[in-house]
């Protein structure tokens, strides 16, 4: 059995915001009819969370339910639980038109925290990240400089960001550069 590691192996950087690799996280793409009672029930049973509304992120202790598109969720769970969660989904949705696939090893999961977190992201994403416009629990898929990324903001003011594993190094260095002391813009201050 191979020893799974995240692409950035727990790296972190402290600039005017803190950028850190969140390590391995179980991630499952679930596509199907998000309004069906079976989908609602199995999302609840496996993550403890409801099916999120449009562009909403719901998160628990080690779980999250993220709205990706009108027919797609990204579910998060502990890395080791993925196989059993997928099995539960497949049993619960048998007969429905759906897809549940393990994407854990195809993703990188970062955290951007600290007072400058909004600004670090705002510099590289075409999104209004002002405190009035982007509030905790909102989920946004967008472009981060030259790569696609998705993130949500938690109640404590930290961003949780998902991008492809293949561009982990680019994403980390990009955020690191954006958070470099001396590069503060102070737009949201």
């Amino acid at each position: 059995m191979s020893n799974a590691v995240s692409a950035l192996a727990g790296t972190s950087y402290d600039g005017f915001a803190r950028i850190e690799d969140q390590g391995l996280r179980g991630m499952i793409t679930l596509r199907g009819d998000l309004a069906s009672k079976e989908v609602k029930a199995v999302v609840k049973a496996t993550t403890g969370l409801a099916v999120p509304g449009q562009r909403q992120a719901l998160s628990g202790k080690d779980t999250a339910a993220l709205w990706m598109s009108p027919d797609e969720l990204l579910l998060m769970c502990p890395y080791g639980d993925v196989a059993s969660v997928i099995e539960k989904i497949e049993t619960a949705l048998k007969g429905q038109h759906f897809l549940a696939v393990n994407v854990s090893d195809a993703r990188t999961f970062l955290r951007i925290s600290g007072a400058g977190a909004r600004e670090v992201l705002a510099k590289v994403c075409p999104v209004d990240l002002s405190p009035e416009a982007f509030t905790p629990g909102m989920f946004r898929r967008t472009r981060m400089a030259q790569v696609p990324a998705a993130f949500w903001l938690d109640e404590a003011g930290a961003f949780h960001l998902v991008c492809f594993r293949s561009i982990a190094d680019y994403a980390f260095n990009l955020l690191k550069t954006s958070a470099k002391p001396g590069g503060e813009v102070g737009y949201f201050a």
Binding site: R55, S69, P70, E72, P126, R140, R141, T142, R143
Partner: protein
């Protein structure tokens, strides 16, 4: 700057979050069509200065295709709507008429 609102996920984003997919409301001519029909389908595209209908994909967002009515000169967007439609819906046509009375595009007006 071109600002589009994706009708699938509700995001109002700027152009670089999307990818243009060419002219909207094309009728496809494939195997069995005449050379003229196929040529027209493949190469004869509208290239207006003004009102235009296009396909767009929210490629850095929800990933869905949608259609947009906009002005190619001013980048004003009259509206975006579902890709699962064969012609511009009435509310889109009305929105264009309010801003550009007398507009025409292919067989639509």
């Amino acid at each position: 700057m071109l600002i589009l609102e994706c009708p699938c996920c509700g995001v109002r984003g700027e152009e670089t979050e999307f990818h243009g997919g060419g002219e909207a409301h094309l009728k496809r001519f494939g195997p069995g069509s005449t050379d003229d029909e196929f040529h027209t389908y493949l190469f004869s595209k509208e290239n207006p200065k003004g009102v235009h209908f296009e396909r767009w994909r929210h490629n850095n967002g929800c990933g869905k295709w949608f259609l947009a009515a906009r002005d190619t000169m001013t980048l004003e967007v009259f509206g975006t709507y579902s890709a699962q439609t064969l012609e511009p819906p009435k509310h889109i046509r009305d929105a264009i008429t309010a801003k550009r009375p007398g507009w025409t595009w292919r067989d639509f007006s």
